[in-house]
Subunit: 237 residues, 2 copies
């Protein structure tokens, strides 16, 4: 009988220390596992230490799946499942298979009729939608926008039209050291009446979530978000 | 000093009994609160009983915010926050202010510079994206699609084109007794190569998550999803 692929969320803080944000039901399953597929072994070990797995840390099998993993390496990651072993998929922070390479393994598991069980835990994407007060009935996560200034401006203007036509909240992330550049692009590209939310350091003591119109943001100082994990959300009206 | 608006997720099962899916950090804050804004008082009370609030259930203030709430009634819901009392916003199941009317109160809180703190908990939307193996780098939640057959077919075909062009996973919900009708529409509207995930009863013992191509689904029997909460996700290629 094949194993089950469990998708195990991790805390959002950089030390993965906030185990109190992981539900007991998730921890209970994670503790029983002996095989994990992880994005980075070092941070995964720090998290699994907090989880207190039944098996000692050094006896766990940790395989890596990240953006450098080739398609032909995925079969080896699936093998323990085919052999009947349950496997836990971990992301660097937050929910695996969302905004990370883990979805490839989940897709392969489905093709082999392996049972996939996503477990409850923190997602900065979902927390940002909740906290923004923007439309939560329709929203889209766009990953990273183009880094090039002209392309980014063009994309933002297109997304703003789409948001207005569909009453859809648009959200995306940015490499933390580029947060100020992204805010500059947003303020120069979007309509002053468009509502813009910036969500920084979600679930952490320094958490900031602020929704203002673009016109209001222009009169405000930027949030303290340099090199901090941030999400940007907007809804055009 | 103004109060804080906490957004408190609830379990996804119909009895709101799965308190083990709510992280300790969320429970700790929920227990301290005396004022709640809820979608339905009866189910909220059942959940708050499980939460074990510090104040006895009958002494809690429960105000209702649902789809019948008028804009001019929102100010009264905000008042305790302006008066300095922390308030918990609860949804019927899952995360408040996502696919429910709670976002209106969050938006009003932002306009009054009230601090908004979203707490971690179950979201069927995010669990479905994780479990689908479809693209988690770009996805959009579309709420409910049109109920009328012709409109729905037209919308599905438009969304499929958008999904193909943008490599974006499309997800939506349906009124549970219409799940079979939705599946029929999907199978007759979408390209056979489009991958379709159906996620039913998430976090519950009866959970089913299956991703197949539309062509494969046509040869399969439908999942046991009549009158069960289900999400539909697809990604065109």
């Amino acid at each position: 009988m094949a194993g089950i692929l469990y998708l195990i969320p991790a805390p959002l803080d950089e030390n993965l220390a906030q185990i109190e944000h992981i539900p007991e039901a998730t921890l209970q399953i994670a503790r029983t596992l002996t095989h994990f597929v992880v994005e980075h072994a070092k941070t995964a070990r720090a998290y699994l230490k907090k989880v207190e797995t039944a098996l000692p840390l050094q006896q766990l099998s940790l395989q890596t799946l990240n953006k450098h993993t080739q398609d032909n390496e995925l079969a080896a990651l699936l093998q323990p499942l085919l052999d009947g072993t349950n496997v836990g998929l971990l992301s660097e922070a937050g929910c695996p298979a969302v905004a990370d390479p883990g979805a490839q393994l989940v897709a392969l598991a489905h093709r082999h009729n392996i049972k996939v069980v996503p477990l409850v835990g923190p997602s900065s994407i979902l927390l940002a939608v909740m906290g923004s007060g923007l439309n939560g009935q329709r929203f889209s996560f766009q990953g990273y926008l183009p880094a090039n200034n002209d392309d980014r401006t063009k994309t933002l203007k297109q997304l703003e039209i789409y948001s207005r036509q569909n009453k859809e909240t648009i959200l995306f992330i940015e490499t933390p050291y580029r947060n100020q550049a992204m805010l500059d692009s947003l303020l120069s590209s979007l309509n002053p009446a468009t509502r813009l939310c910036i969500a920084v350091d979600l679930t952490c003591p320094e958490e900031q979530i602020r929704t203002l119109t673009v016109g209001e943001w222009k009169k405000q100082s930027a949030p303290a978000f340099h090199k901090r994990p941030a999400l940007f959300l907007f809804l055009a009206n």
